[in-house]
Every structure is written in structure tokens, then in C-alpha cells.
């Protein structure tokens, strides 16, 4: 058996063992994940179903709109898969300790590449089935498909997922191999990319100019539709293939499936050849890329040293945590993806013209946006803030001896997290509110909400992180998967629901004029007091408990 096949078989064994050991995980965690997955599948399917029902109620327009929305949906999914493939591919090919270990074993580089490629494709793609299944399922359910038809259509997703995550790995490999080193070359590279992006935008604009009037209206309404419908885009083959089956054109559908499968075959054959050639050189380049003889501090380091004033533990942690965050792509890329997607969505709200509609709609959407923003903030605080105290336990030989208490260290961590979340949350909330042009009382509540949500989330994650502090060299994933991490995730989500939905409901009722016994000012004042008191309690109480734990425990 080839080394690559052996390694893949070993990896599958590991996955199988992990699945078998589920019963050893905290019950609360298994229940939560199970309940969340079911809720996710059911609610997303229901949302897609409602969307299709709405479109088909429009009559003839649905036959024009549905294929285009299919292409757009699969293009978005494809880009997400590419990004995911690039990130997991980079981690698997260059970052994992496993690769460094295998380099000293008698495993040919080609086999090491095949193994990492398969692993990345598996890792980057499984989650996307949770989006594809509800989408195709809802469409099939609405169109009364048989189970056989549904399964046949879902077959499309396998080559689709492989194709886009493979493309992500290919792009990543090219970038890592040929990205210019040094500041000047880097700047030239960035300028070239900017020029390429500008040219691509112009090309798409030219294509738009040659469209029918209906399509022109739709393209202006939904950005990216023109690119998504381009006949050479694989997302278009996926959409056309599924819709051909829906329209009883099985031959055409099968042809699209074959087209996808053959493209995957060509891509993976190319990747195998290209990777075997490029990977060894790229790995050497990566392993020797450290700037060990640099005599100058990095620009970002110098900026941060001057940015934080005074001399205090807060300054020390502010600089240290910012530098580590900026130098760890797995950290900033998650922030960038989540908050970047929200920013794009908020920016697009302007083109949908909500400000011209009834204020009920803009108000409702403003609070739904606050909820989605807070939910993202809660998952990021659970991912990044909660493990902070446990991660610092490795440095207690120095941090624990500094003339500052561990309680103060916890407060510093809380302050930094609260400030960072508050800045990002307030900025994005302002973007959403300015696009929706909501009324003054709702605007005030939204402005108050974000810093208070940040305080509640940062306080809860830091306090619980201190209470359930884990000692020893554990990774953030290991820290999060414990009882404390799961409890924190549940409590932060619960506090977001209480903090955002209640003011949202009151504000909505106010706009609908359903609260006649109180004036607008009174409702705003009462809701503001509710937000402040609840968030201070939600953040403050866990901090108090964490502080007490740190004072009494041994390290």
C-alpha cells in the first residue's frame, strides 16, 4: 500500500475512534451540539422553503428569478469553500506538527501532499453539507420531489464541494510559493492585485451593459449576479444541473453532473502533478522564511509600543495580545470572515431601499441585525476570550510572579476584550443603522446596545474562563470543549437573546403604536435601564466569581 493511502487510512481510523468516543464527552456538550444541528437544519430548511414559496407565488417571474438565485447561492457557497479550502490547506500542508514529523519519516513528498490534500478537502467541506442539504431539501420538498430525486440532486454537491475546496488549495499553493518577499516586492504585488481587481470589475461592468432590461434591473438590485450566471462558472453548472432535474430534463442534468465530475478529475490530476512539483520547494521556502537576523523591530510592533500609553499591566497585555492576534492568521482570519461578511451585508442594505419603506420594516431589520451581530460577537468571545486565562496559565512562572494579582490580570483581559468587541460592534451597528435610516429612539437603543453587549460577553467569557481555568499545555480547542467552554457558549447566547430581543420587541411594538399607555421617551428610558442593568449583571457576576476563584486556588 502506498504511504499516502496508509496515512489516509490512519486518519480515517482516527476519525472513527473520535466518533466512537463521543460518549466520553460532556453530556451537556453533546446535547447542545445535537440540538443546535437539528435546529439549524430545520430552521434553515424552513427559511429556504418560505423563500421558494414566496418566489413561486410571483408567478412567471419565478422562472426567471429562481435559476439566477440558484447560481448566486452556489457562487457564494463556492467562494466560501475556496476560502475554507485555502485556510485548511495551508494549515495541513505547512502548519501542523504532523507534517514536520512526517518529513523525518520515509514518506515521499508526493504522498505527503496527496494526504494533506485529501485531509484538507474533508476538513473544509463537511460543514457545507449543512447549507447545501437544507437548500436542495427545501426546493425538492416544495416541488414535491421523490426521495430518489432528492438523493440524485444531492449527488451534485460532492463534486461541487471537491472542486471549490481543491481550487482553494491550488490558489493558496500559488500564493505561498510565489508571493514576493520583502516590503517593496510585497507592495508591488499588492498594486498588481489591486489593478487585476479593477480590471475584473470593469470587465463585469461591460458585460452588464449588454444585458436585457429585466436582467439589468436585477443585476443592479443583486450585486454579483452577472458573474454568478457566467456559463463557464462551475456554480452555474451546479444550478443548471439541479434545475434540469427539477424540470424533468434528466439527460441535461446528468450532463452537468458529468461536467462537474470531469472537472474535479482534471483539477485533482493537475493538483497532484502541480503539487508534487511545487510543494517540496514551497515547504522549504516556508520552513526557512523566518526573519531570524532582522535587526529592526516590525512596523506594527513600533506602532503598538507608542499607541498604548503609561506603564501598566494593561499596556503590557494590550501590546502583547494585539501582536499575537495580528501574527496568527487563524485568529484574525476568523474575525475578518465573520465581521467582513456582516459588513458586506450591511453595506448592501443601502441598495435594497429599506429607508424608503415603512419604518416598521427598517426598525425590525435593524434589531435583527443587532441580534446577528451580537450572536457573532458571542461566538467569537467564546472562541477567543474564554480560553485566555487558561492559555496564560503556561506563563504563570513570570506573569504569576509579577507585582500584580491574577485578579488584576483577569480584569485586564476583560477590559481589552470589552474594548475590542465594543469598537467592532459599535462600528458595524452604526453602518447598519445608517443604511436603514431608523428613527431616533431605536437608534439610541442600538447605540447603547453594542457596548453593553460587549461588556456582558467579555465579562462572562473572562469570568467563566477564570473559574474553569485549565492548567497545562492545552490548545484553545481542548479548553473550549470542556464543561466550562460549553457552559460559557450557552450562557453567552442566552444573554444575547435576553439583551437584544427584549428591546427589539419593545421598539417594534412602539413603532406599531401598540404601547399606548407609555410615551416613546418612557419606553426608551425603561428599555435602556433594562439593557444596562442586565448587561452589568451578566458581565459583572461571572467576573466576581472568577476573581474569587483565582484568589483561593493553587497553581
Amino acid at each position: 500500500m502506498r504511504p499516502a493511502s496508509l496515512l489516509i487510512r490512519n486518519h480515517l481510523f482516527e476519525l472513527k475512534t473520535a466518533a466512537r468516543l463521543v460518549h466520553e464527552q460532556p453530556k451537556i456538550k453533546v446535547l447542545l451540539i445535537g440540538a443546535f444541528s437539528i435546529c439549524w437544519l430545520v430552521s434553515l430548511s424552513a427559511l429556504f422553503y418560505a423563500g421558494f414559496a414566496f418566489l413561486y407565488k410571483l408567478g412567471g417571474a419565478a422562472f426567471f428569478l429562481v435559476p439566477r438565485l440558484f447560481t448566486l447561492f452556489f457562487m457564494g457557497l463556492g467562494f466560501m469553500l475556496m476560502l475554507s479550502g485555502a485556510v485548511t490547506g495551508y494549515a495541513n500542508l505547512f502548519q501542523t506538527p504532523e507534517v514536520r514529523r512526517l518529513l523525518s519519516w520515509p514518506v515521499p513528498m508526493r504522498d505527503l501532499f496527496y494526504y494533506s490534500l485529501v485531509k484538507s478537502t474533508l476538513m473544509s467541506s463537511w460543514a457545507f453539507f449543512f447549507i447545501i442539504i437544507p437548500f436542495i431539501g427545501a426546493f425538492g420538498f416544495y416541488r414535491d420531489w421523490s426521495f430518489f430525486m432528492l438523493a440524485w440532486s444531492l449527488l451534485f454537491s460532492i463534486p461541487f464541494v471537491m472542486l471549490f475546496s481543491g481550487l482553494g488549495v491550488l490558489l493558496m499553493l500559488i500564493v505561498v510559493r510565489w508571493i514576493p518577499r520583502g516590503r517593496t516586492l510585497g507592495l508591488l504585488g499588492a498594486l498588481f492585485l489591486a489593478y487585476a481587481a479593477y480590471s475584473a470589475t470593469n470587465y463585469v461592468r461591460d458585460l452588464q451593459a449588454n444585458q436585457t432590461e429585466d436582467m439589468m434591473v436585477l443585476v443592479n438590485f443583486v450585486p454579483g449576479l452577472q458573474l454568478a450566471s457566467f456559463p463557464l462558472m462551475p456554480n452555474s453548472w451546479m444550478a443548471q444541473g439541479i434545475l434540469s432535474f427539477a424540470n424533468d430534463d434528466g439527460v441535461r442534468g446528468s450532463l452537468y453532473l458529468l461536467l462537474l465530475c470531469s472537472s474535479v478529475g482534471v483539477l485533482f490530476l493537475f493538483l497532484a502533478r502541480f503539487g508534487s512539483w511545487v510543494y517540496p520547494v514551497t515547504l522549504q521556502r516556508h520552513l526557512t522564511s523566518s526573519n531570524v537576523l532582522s535587526r529592526q523591530a516590525s512596523l506594527i510592533s513600533r506602532i503598538l509600543q507608542n499607541l498604548f500609553p503609561g506603564r501598566s499591566a494593561l499596556r503590557a497585555y494590550g501590546i502583547k495580545d494585539s501582536l499575537i492576534f495580528l501574527r496568527d492568521p487563524s485568529q484574525w482570519s476568523q474575525f475578518l470572515i465573520f465581521f467582513g461578511l456582516l459588513a458586506l451585508y450591511f453595506l448592501n442594505l443601502g441598495s435594497l431601499g429599506y429607508s424608503d419603506l415603512d419604518p416598521t420594516w427598517s426598525n425590525l431589520i435593524a434589531f435583527l441585525n443587532m441580534f446577528s451581530l451580537s450572536a457573532v460577537m458571542s461566538s467569537l468571545s467564546a472562541r477567543f476570550v474564554f480560553p485566555q486565562m487558561s492559555l496564560e496559565s503556561r506563563t504563570l512562572w513570570m506573569v504569576g510572579l509579577a507585582p500584580t494579582s491574577l485578579g488584576r490580570l483577569m480584569l485586564n483581559k476583560f477590559l481589552l476584550a470589552a474594548i475590542a468587541l465594543s469598537i467592532v460592534g459599535t462600528g458595524l451597528a452604526s453602518l447598519s443603522n445608517s443604511m436603514l435610516e431608523i428613527q431616533a429612539s431605536s437608534l439610541f437603543l442600538c447605540r447603547l446596545l453594542m457596548p453593553m453587549v460587549a461588556i456582558a460577553l467579555a465579562g462572562m467569557s473572562t469570568g467563566l474562563g477564570a473559574m474553569f481555568m485549565e492548567m497545562g499545555p492545552k490548545t484553545p480547542a481542548q479548553i473550549l470543549s470542556g464543561y466550562g467552554g460549553t457552559l460559557n457558549l450557552i450562557l453567552t447566547l442566552f444573554s444575547v437573546i435576553l439583551l437584544v430581543l427584549v428591546p427589539g420587541i419593545f421598539s417594534h411594538l412602539l413603532v406599531l403604536d401598540r404601547i399606548s399607555f407609555l410615551s416613546e421617551t418612557e419606553v426608551t428610558v425603561f428599555t435602556s435601564i433594562y439593557i444596562v442593568v442586565l448587561s452589568l449583571f451578566a458581565g459583572g457576576f461571572p467576573l466576581f466569581l472568577g476573581y474569587r476563584t483565582l484568589k483561593t486556588r493553587d497553581f
Partner: protein, 239 residues
């Protein structure tokens, strides 16, 4: 100086440290020897305040560690056997971080950090990421960071693991130099030859109890017929 009086620590059924009394005066390099699990690291951790003693008292540079923990810790430097440093910081950034953490004035930190790196021969790696440094280089960075705030008491747990001869010589010279300037050093080691070479006094701990303490000559005199520290150590700890 270090003053431990009737120090006790129990983990469940295990008496990790049993009525430990010890005094190490200023300017002395004290070597703390003992087999694995004898109570050396627990004793050191109690001195650092990371583990609280069940009973007994600790004085560091004349400060009661229980009554004034923050002041006591500000006099202390501690280097564990396998210390972790932030991999995504550079040695220079790590030293600046340490200076801020110890609330040293900014201009002092900026002047002192490069000097410390120079002393430890790390200036040409000052702006490389810690993750790209070898074990020996990391140890040098850790020594530089620990000594930057000029502690009066230094606790070192197994300082020579995995170091090359140059680094071992550098650290031995440095410990000698600092004790001559009045620093109190308490060092644990399993390398008996090093304890014989650089220790002013040697203490042997077994099952949480201090079973022998004195200069090498005093220990030899107290145990006739045993001319080597190795024989004495094995005799006392194999009982």
C-alpha cells in the same frame, strides 16, 4: 535572603513538603537536591506564591510572602524547568512586555532590554520570533527577562536541561556574578557535579523533608566514609 519556617503542604494523602525549615542568606547560591517527587518544585512554587502552604511562613528579602504577596513577588525572579514563552513575540517584545508587567519606567525598559539581550548574546536575534529560536536561545531570553527587573531572590528549577556547553557556562558565570553582587539564588538540579562546582551550600530533600544541609565539606564531615556527593545523595535518598 530566603527564610522558610515549618513549611507544610499536603496533596490529599501525600505529604509533599514536611516541616521544611531553611535559611539562605544574601549572596549565597544554594543547591536544592532531591529525587523526582521529593518536594523540590512544590517548595519553590510555595515560595513564588503559586501554591499556598498549609502552614508555615516564607520570608523573601525580608518581606513576609503571606502578608505582602505583591511586594514579595516584586523581589523575586523564577525560572521553571520548562518555561513557556509567547511564540509569536520577538525576544525584544518579550522583554518590553516583562518591563511593563513589572511596571518599570518606559525609558528604563527601552534602555535596559537591548542591554540584557546583548549580555546574553541575543542581540542579533532580537527581532526574530521566539518560535524560530532554539531551546538554548529561548532559555537565554527567559534569563534576560527574569533578571531585567533585578530581583533580590532568584529561584531556578533545573537550569541546565538541554543546553549546549556555551549556554551552560554563560548561565553558571551569570549565577556566580549575581550572587557576588548580593542576589540570593536557590537552584534545583539533578546534575550533582554542577551542585558540587557552583553551590555555596547544598540541601538534600527526600519525601518532603530536608535530610541534609551544609557546605560540601560539612556534608562530607557529617557522613564519614563518603567522599563523593553522589554516594551521600544515594545513601540519603534510597532509604
Amino acid at each position: 535572603m530566603i527564610q522558610l519556617q515549618h513549611l507544610n503542604k499536603r496533596y490529599g494523602q501525600l505529604q509533599a513538603v514536611d516541616d521544611l525549615c531553611l535559611e539562605v542568606p544574601s549572596g549565597e547560591l544554594f543547591c536544592f537536591l532531591g529525587p523526582n517527587g521529593a518536594g523540590k518544585t512544590t517548595s519553590i512554587k510555595m515560595m513564588t506564591g503559586l501554591v499556598k502552604p498549609d502552614s508555615g511562613s516564607i520570608q523573601l528579602a525580608g518581606v513576609d510572602a503571606a502578608k505582602e504577596p505583591v511586594l514579595a513577588r516584586s523581589q523575586l525572579g523564577y525560572i521553571p524547568d520548562m518555561p513557556f514563552i509567547y511564540e509569536r513575540l520577538t525576544p525584544m517584545e518579550f522583554l518590553l512586555f516583562t518591563g511593563d508587567l513589572y511596571q518599570m519606567p518606559r525609558d528604563v525598559v527601552r534602555e535596559k532590554a537591548p542591554r540584557m539581550l546583548e549580555i546574553f548574546g541575543m542581540m542579533d536575534r532580537a527581532h526574530a520570533l521566539n518560535r524560530d529560536l532554539s531551546h538554548g536561545m529561548r532559555q537565554r531570553v527567559i534569563y534576560a527577562a527574569t533578571l531585567m527587573h533585578e530581583p533580590k531572590v532568584l529561584l531556578v528549577d533545573e537550569p541546565f536541561i538541554g543546553l549546549d556547553p556555551h549556554s551552560i557556562r554563560l548561565i553558571k558565570d551569570l549565577l556566580r556574578e549575581h550572587t557576588q553582587r548580593g542576589m540570593t539564588v536557590l537552584m534545583t538540579t539533578h546534575i550533582l557535579a554542577i551542585a558540587e562546582e557552583i553551590g555555596d551550600r547544598i540541601g538534600i530533600i527526600n519525601q518532603g523533608k530536608l535530610v541534609a544541609c551544609g557546605t560540601l565539606d560539612e556534608l562530607n564531615t557529617a557522613t564519614p566514609g563518603m567522599n563523593k556527593l553522589e554516594d551521600l545523595f544515594l545513601e540519603l535518598t534510597l532509604r
